[in-house]
């Protein structure tokens, strides 16, 4: 089994850091265009730390939407993390609640998937800390850099790097899918349900991910428990 130290956490988190780099850079740039100061833009990345919600907030601010509605929208977009941290709890070693309350702040779609798909037994808190710190640092630092330089990467690189986080998700999924029909079904069914919500516009992105994930996870559990009994 692999080493589960802080350093190996940093290594596992470095794919997230690379993926966040172009997204945070663009966020900093757009925040500047939306009229936020360097301090205001960076503070949002430091305290909120939620990519999708931050992007939406910029467009809502520009549209003159009230701050209260922006806060409510942020909650709606991020409520999916409830499901992820409940799942992650099964994967983490038991530890003091205050420690868990600290690293909970760093759970994003990306850090969750990196942690939850690690093979082997329970994960140590220091390992999670490594994954989270390098991802968070990338998000905060490159938000500030994007605002400061006020320019983006060369167009071809910006376009190419937009695959980074999806490539990471695929890189996490494939090793588990190999020779495991249950894992493949879980991912496929969730993708199909999510596509349905996307193309019909029935649910916004945050809810669509929450509902499709939960539906797929429950459906497969029902199927496999029935097979187990039969």
């Amino acid at each position: 089994m692999e080493n589960r130290s802080f350093i190996s956490g940093l290594k596992a988190g470095s794919s997230i850091a690379i993926g966040y780099f172009p997204v945070a850079l663009t966020f900093g740039l757009l925040a500047k265009t939306a009229g936020l100061s360097l301090l205001e833009a960076t503070a949002m990345s430091i305290f909120v730390y939620a990519g999708a919600a931050q992007y939406i907030t910029l467009s809502l601010l520009t549209a003159g939407v009230s701050p209260l509605l922006i806060v409510i929208n942020t909650f709606i977009v991020n409520i999916r993390h409830f499901l992820m941290t409940a799942s992650l709890n099964e994967k983490m070693q038991p530890d003091a609640k205050w420690k868990k309350a600290i690293y909970a702040f760093g759970i994003t779609d990306e850090s969750f998937t990196v942690l939850a798909t690690q093979k082997g037994g329970k994960l140590k808190t220091v390992y999670a800390a490594g994954v989270i710190i390098i991802a968070y640092a990338s998000w905060v630092v490159f938000t500030a850099v994007g605002h400061l330089i006020g320019a983006n990467l060369p167009a071809f690189l910006q376009a190419a790097m937009s695959i980074a986080l999806y490539a990471m998700f695929i890189g996490l999924l494939i090793p588990s899918v190999k020779g495991n029909r249950k894992v493949l079904s879980l991912a496929l069914i969730a993708a199909i349900i999510n596509s349905f919500f996307y193309f019909t516009g029935l649910l916004s992105t945050g809810w669509a991910i929450l509902v499709s994930t939960l539906a797929s996870a429950i459906f497969i559990e029902i199927i496999s428990s029935k097979r187990g009994k039969a």
Partner: protein, 101 residues
């Protein structure tokens, strides 16, 4: 910007933090029913499916970016490369694609 901006940031920070922190702290030391545990163990793979698709198709206006990038990622991952290599390799493939097309 004025004070309301900072109140908004505080509000956003709280409503983002709570769904992250409540399950991890409240569930500590609690044993959930077997069926619920199984569902929770299914979540990571289901969420990956939902995070990847269909969003990967729309990373650029040109839908081929997403398709080629995802195909490259799947191909490299199937070779058994680690995640970092999958990420860098897919970026490299798309960089070449965007220079030539």
């Amino acid at each position: 910007m004025e004070a309301w901006y900072w109140w908004m940031i505080a509000g956003m920070a709280i409503v983002t933090y709570l769904p992250r922190a409540i399950p991890l702290t409240f569930l500590e030391g609690r044993e959930l029913p077997e069926a619920v545990q199984n569902v929770l163990r299914n979540i990571p793979f289901a969420v990956l499916g939902a995070l990847i698709f269909p969003a990967v198709l729309f990373i650029q206006e040109d839908i081929w970016f997403g398709i080629i990038g995802a195909a490259a990622a799947v191909g490299i991952a199937l070779l058994g490369a680690n995640v970092m290599f999958v990420v860098l390799g897919s970026i490299a493939v798309l960089a070449v694609y965007s220079v030539f097309f």
